[in-house]
Amino acid sequence: MKNILTFILLFMSTIMSNAQTKLLGTITSKTGEKLAFVAVSEDGTTNGTLSDIDGNFSITVKSLPTKLTFSFLGYQTYEQEISSVSNKINVTLEEDTKALEEVKVVAKYGRSRTENVIIGVENIQMSEMSKVPAIMGERDIIKSIQLLPGIKSEGDGSCGFQVRGGTPAQNLILLDNATIYNSGHLIGFFSAFNDEAISNAQLYKGQMPAQFGDASASVFDITTRSGSMEDYYFKASIGLLAAKFAAEGPIAKNKASFFVSARRSYFDLFLKATEKYKDKVLNFYDVNAKVTTKLGKKDMMNIMFFRSRDNMELDNKIAVANWGNTAASLDWFHRYGQNISGNTSLVYSNFDFYEGLNILNIDEEASAFVRHYLAKENIKYSPTENHNIMLGAQIDHIILKSAEWQYYSLNEKEQRSAQEYSAWLSDDIKTNFGLEISMGLRGVRFDVLGGSPYYNIGNDGEILDTLSYKSGNVVKSYYSLEPRFSFKYQFAPHQSIKGGYCRTSQNIHSVSENGMTGPYDRNTMSSNIIKPEIANQISFGYMAETENCGYEFSLEGYYKNVDNVYEYKDGKGFMSHIEFERMLMCGKGRAYGAEFYAKKNKGKFTGWISYTLSWSENKVDGINDNKWYTASNDRRHDIALVGMYKFNNKWDMSATWVYNTGKALTAPSAKYEATDYTCYYYNERNGYRAPAYHRMDVSFNRTKECEKCIKIWSFGIYNIYNHYNPYIISFENDDTKLSGTKTVQTSLFGIVPSVSFTIKF
């Protein structure tokens, strides 16, 4: 064994010691200020580094000539051809006067798919995504990612997205390291994320780096924007349903900056104008704020705050519902030396839900929350340009109130807490013959903590014993070792194959009732009964691009299995019992499929086609005779066509067309008369298909640049050919009809036009 290790080390050092060229330089602003943390990348490779606090950088390139790209928030991206190693490279970056317009964090969107060593990573470029048509004039990052391969919508009226056969509850959404449990406004009609506040995002579709965990399907890592340290910028936008603004600028020039954005819907103002709805409340808002500070020569700190809220209320508060997220994070970056840096994060996040009904003699209240406290340290060490080691640890304290309800004089509550410890180590190595390897290992210990009741539960859901543990005592511990491995082999300048294996665990579970996620879904944690979800995924793919990167193609395939998948028992729903475990059955899931993607990156016309062929199945004892059955999120075919055309500097347009196979549907197979009504017998869960979903959206943007500002009019049409897509399907006995049953489809939207106006200065 020792010999093998020695051989591997020798082999690695040999392939990494081949002759390379080291380039040195300094980056400054036009005013002469030395710029720290500027991203420097070598074109056509994954080489990259950051400038230090004095604006100095060093990067080792394979050969000359080559091209370097310099990008930094608030400055225009700059590219420079390097043909020889002579003097130090001096680069001056110019301020981006349209800083609030768009941020291109990923230098080349098309290249990232082929260049990233990890398979199944989607780099979301906000500048591109913001051109995709959106409902009611509101840009929506969650809706936009659903146009990418392997990512599917749950349908109209839901903000949940499904990744490679997973459920929305199996996605981890991180906003500057803070977990966001509910990503929708208005029960999913709009995303909770204001596009103005987002800098960039990466979606890991199953293969994820070792620093991420707690997700069986995907990690969606969103980074919010930092403000410009040079100048002030403002932006305001008004649409049919909501208005928003953003502002950024220096607090202390070149030392500290702020960014703030807010959005609020105002359609309740229209309701107030009507006699019938004047006393109703129906609104949402969200606020993002970030302060960025340079602390000395080697340190930088970000403080982020996010809050989103939805409010609904009927006359005199007879019915009230509200929910939302609150998150705050402190992130401290420290450069220990030329090759070693660290990130320390302290994070708080909270999702809560409340509903109340007080009418006639009815007096009911229900509430729930998930509260998360997290401390994280991540150290990055790069002994050479082609070798990156990451080491980190994280402690999470979670308090989760699955439900509390007040029903007349009865108060019932299920609230539990847990502690999670995780540590990781990863090693990314690039060879000079086209092979890149990323290896990682994550270890997780999850402690279920006492202080609230735990149970032993019988087969029929009856409570056999109530177990009491002192607050803070460990009820049960779960351990998980999660290896991660990815490789990329670039066998030709613009072609590569990738593959990987990933194991993850997830300790926060959420079960939705009818395959549609919402803020009222019940959450729970692993307990003495509920086990962590364990997912294993393998994937392989081929990526190619044309020589000038004008076109790119990818084909990926995956297979994954998930242990400890939970479903509701027949006849049970989220309100059946306060003890959540009484209503659940445990099983396993599997998903497999193929994803095809083709994209045109350059020219007046750009766009892409994505197609996903997939299967998703579950096997749960007690459902469908204990056989494998179609999961509620199974969709066989999923197609997205996206086209964007720039007519001139003033006008551009975009159009999207999506098609999904209908959702798996539980419908009756027989009917009978009982209780004086017609009742239905369901022979098979998810045994039917709803009609297919398809629609086309278009939008036109007119941009006018004035001396001191930019004005944009956006005109959009959602569902341009007015196709009513299924939202709810119901059944009604009708013996007057020959068919005997009336099947009714309820749809949410027909054609929806929209207009919005934006001004930036």
């Binding site: 009226g157 029960i187 007879i318 009418i359 029903y407 007349y408 197979s669 027989a670 009978y672 009504y677």
Partner: protein
């Protein structure tokens, strides 16, 4: 509690649209359905089978091998076939209140068995119709059940008939009931603004409204609760003597409290 979600859903569906679609329903072999009711005066059991979703002919009653009722003391009653799947027996069960009864039904060689306990008659206040403003003026049926035994969990099932036809049913238990023992019931019947649509959902002046409130056992309550939930099947309450033989329906013993009135619509305040 689910009502709140219905209100939210109502808001969402404000701009929605409905259309009839075709669905290719699967056919399955018919499954026996037993609906057994025992009151202090009689036992009535109806035997039918399920029919396919595309069958527009109402299910006909079936004659089976045997229907036997057994008391806790072992006394057995054989129910005789009447007509259209009904088996009936008239007998004075009132003296046996709080007794548990076992119903055995043999269909196609398989015996299905279910038990139920007879509880004392429920005490209710006089039902009345009241207006409430919930998005719009809505007519609610309101009454109270007086829970006599606060030390045990009690379950109730009420049916409302309009001109002899079933209008609605609901179940309620004493969860959250305070020391007064009053269980409040409010059933949303219809919105005033919808009255221009002629529909079975509305009640008109002169309609005869009858109500039957029953004390039921927990098994029946759970069955009805799960049946009401929809989208999947309630837990099977009839056990068979052969494994995996399915049977739908329920058997319940109850002592009904009845109420009858003629509906007279009162105007609501603007």
């Amino acid at each position: 509690m689910k009502n709140i979600l219905y209100f939210i859903l109502a808001l969402i569906l404000f701009s929605s649209c409905e259309k009839e679609i075709e669905l290719d329903y699967n056919d399955i072999d018919p499954i026996p359905v037993i609906e057994g009711k025992l009151t202090p005066e009689k036992v009535e059991v109806k035997i039918t089978k399920t029919r396919n979703m595309n069958d527009s002919t109402k299910g006909k009653g079936l004659e089976c091998e045997s229907v036997i009722l057994t008391q806790l003391n072992g006394q057995q009653f054989v129910l005789n076939y009447d007509n259209d799947g009904f088996y009936r027996l008239e007998y004075d069960f009132l003296s046996n209140s709080q007794n548990t009864y076992m119903l055995n039904v043999k269909i196609d060689g398989v015996t299905y068995c279910c038990s139920s306990t007879l509880y004392p008659q429920a005490e209710i206040t006089e039902p009345r119709f009241v207006w409430t403003n919930l998005m719009d003026w809505a007519q609610c049926l309101e009454f109270e059940i007086i829970d006599k035994d606060l030390n045990t969990e009690n379950y109730y099932w009420y049916n409302v008939y309009k001109n002899g036809e079933i209008y609605c049913w609901a179940i309620v238990d004493d969860t959250g009931c305070d020391s007064s023992g009053i269980i409040y019931n409010d059933y949303l019947c219809y919105y005033d603004s919808d009255m221009e649509n002629d529909d079975d959902a509305f009640i008109y002046d002169g309609d005869i409204i009858e109500m039957e409130v029953k004390s039921i056992d927990q098994q029946t309550f759970d069955y009805l609760s799960e049946l009401q939930y929809g989208n999947n099947n309630p837990k099977q309450v009839f056990k068979s003597d052969i494994d995996n033989k399915k049977c739908l329906g329920y058997f319940t013993a109850y002592n009904p409290q009845n109420y009858k009135t003629v509906y007279n619509k009162t105007p609501h305040k603007k």
